[in-house]
Amino acid sequence: MTTNAAEQYELVARVERFLYQEAALLDRAGYEEWLALFEADATYSLPSTDVPGAEVGTSLFLINDDYQRLSGRVTRMLSRDAHADYPHPRTRRLITNVRVEPADDPARVAVSANFVIFSLRVGRVSQFVGEYRFVLTDHGDRFTIRSRRADLDLETLDFGGGKINLIV
């Protein structure tokens, strides 16, 4: 029991470290390094604000990327022609309430966490608040991302400055 508790404690600590490092990458616009965390069949999704918790494929999402589109998104964000993203906003991500559960596959973990993101650009502060749901593959010394979704608590994107010009 104590071993299990210690293992669980260690697992949560590793997941937290991973989430913090991921947030740090995004906060310094290290998008290529960030993309390298994803598996080849990974997904990144953001449901519409009026249907939090929606299943992919049954409703209109704001973002529903497979790896190819996510890779296109990163290419876009690094381009000076991504006018909404360039100049990049200054962002600060706060991640908390990290919960780690077993996933269907024993090599994976299901992670939930709360987030607040402040984004500052052209004299305005935008705020995104919500919950992350990750499925991570545990390679022992590192994690890779199988799926990553962000369910926003915003009722409309107005509070978030209107548009998604950052990785939520």
Binding site: L60, F61, G72
Partner: protein, 451 residues
């Protein structure tokens, strides 16, 4: 129906100078000089509080406004609540299956009788004093009814409705103007383009769950212009086209035969054959080989139902349609139904819905939704850049005294019917109608100096 033939270009691109109709001053915001092929909009139109208030009176209180789509309330007693023209409305199906629009305010003291976004309910019970209405709007429950006197008529106290409510091909509209023309008259030639969207499937069209609910810190008319702007596509959306090119693995095809039309009454459309796939029904390699057969089957069915020529218009032609003043139906890589509601001179709210054939299987529906959000919506590869451009224009308007005019002249010298989507005849159609309506206003705005 003659979609391809030139529509009667309203007023034949002939304005009559600065002052068009009316005796007010607001109509001095458009400067049109047909001889010089110049059309300019004064930037006060985008920044003035007075214009903003006049628009509410002369545009939004007078025109037919889109409320929602029948498919959003498929069953008796289904309802949704929505703000339309600044008013809180309930769109619902009554117990007989009829579409109803009620004004969402208790006739007793004013509280909203429905405070949920959507649902199914046989009654709307005010939470304040428990007056209760049925789905037809009749007042069916009044606690302590006997305490009201002889002059109290419960029939009069039913939920009120907008002055006009009508449905065109599943699209529900309302007007707050008791003198408004009928909806079919109001839509005029724009109705034919709604038909092309509604005819995508014999099973009908469905608004998909999930709403893109966003906002732009810019004047609402900038989004109207942008929604019909073929000129900006290549320069502004370079990253989207790079992405399409990379995923399609082939260079973009030459865009064939674009057109821009003034449909009269302020409505307008641009037509295109753009280098992206349309799940209804133009297959593209990026959809995957599996999707080729089901999409081509849909195309064949459209050909059987409507003939080759019309099927081509439905399936293969991209169209961006404006139904004046603020409904956009862009039938492009996805079909977006978009409403644009001004909240302040420099801020507006946008709702975007995805419309898709009701008879698509789950896989094709998913493809349709995914293709939609590749470009469209506030998390897509293109819409955020549009939003950025509009906000940047609005920031530029801070110098409207020094730089007072925006130019909307492109393609003005072209003969009737030869306008292409990168011309601006479609925007001039909007602006002329807008100007005509504001010209009826008695209010006065200082006449801009033409430089």
């Amino acid at each position: 129906m003659t979609i391809v033939a030139p529509m009667q270009q309203a007023q034949d691109e002939q304005g009559d100078g600065v002052a068009v109709g009316g005796n007010g001053q607001l109509n001095r915001l458009i400067h049109e000089d047909p001889d010089a092929a110049l059309f300019r909009v004064h930037r006060d139109a985008f920044v003035s509080q007075e214009v903003f208030e006049a628009e509410r009176r002369e545009v939004f209180d007078r025109c037919w406004l889109y409320v929602g789509h029948e498919s959003e309330i498929p069953n008796p007693a289904d309802f949704l609540t929505r703000k339309v023209g600044g008013r809180p409305l309930i769109l619902c199906r009554d117990s007989d299956g009829g579409v109803r629009v009620h004004i969402n305010t208790c006739t007793h003291r004013g509280a909203e009788v429905c405070r949920e976004a959507r649902g199914n309910s046989k009654t709307f019970k005010c939470f304040y004093h428990a007056w209760t209405y049925n789905t037809s709007g009749a007042l069916v429950g009044i606690p302590g009814r006997e305490a009201f006197g002889a002059g109290f008529d419960a029939e009069e106290r039913r939920l009120q409705a907008p002055a006009g409510v009508d449905v065109y091909r599943g699209f529900v509209f309302a007007t707050f103007n008791p003198e408004a023309e009928s909806l079919p008259e109001y839509l005029g030639a724009a109705g034919e383009y709604i038909d092309l969207v509604a005819d995508q499937s014999e099973a009908g069209m469905q608004v998909q769950p999930g709403t893109h609910q966003y906002s732009i810190r810019a004047n609402w008319k900038l989004l109207v212009e942008n929604s019909l702007d073929g000129y900006h596509l290549v320069p502004l959306h370079r990253t989207y086209f790079s992405y399409v090119r990379a995923t399609e693995g082939e260079p973009l095809g030459k865009r064939r035969g674009t057109q821009a039309k003034d449909l009269g009454n302020g409505h307008a459309v641009i037509l295109d054959h753009a280098p992206w796939g349309r799940p209804v029904a133009r297959w593209a390699p990026t959809f995957g080989e599996w999707a080729r057969e089901p999409i081509e089957t849909r195309l064949r069915r459209l050909q059987e139902l409507h003939g080759e020529e019309r099927a081509q218009l439905i399936a293969d032609t991209d169209r961006n349609l404006l139904v004046f003043p603020n409904l956009v139906i862009n039938d492009i890589m996805g079909t977006v139904v978009r409403t644009i509601w001004p909240t302040a001179p420099d801020h507006h709210e946008v709702s975007g819905w995805a419309l898709a054939p009701a008879d698509m299987d789950d896989r094709l529906r998913k493809l349709t939704l995914d293709n939609f959000i590749s470009f469209l919506g506030p998390g897509g590869f293109a819409t955020p850049d549009d939003m950025e451009a509009l906000e940047s224009c609005q920031r530029g308007f801070a110098a409207s005294r020094e730089v007072p005019w925006s130019d909307v002249s492109r393609g003005m010298e072209k003969p009737l019917g030869e306008a292409v989507s990168s011309d601006e005849v479609q925007m001039r159609a909007f602006w002329r109608r807008w100007n005509e309506l504001l010209g009826r206003s008695g209010s006065s705005v200082a006449e801009p100096v033409i430089r």
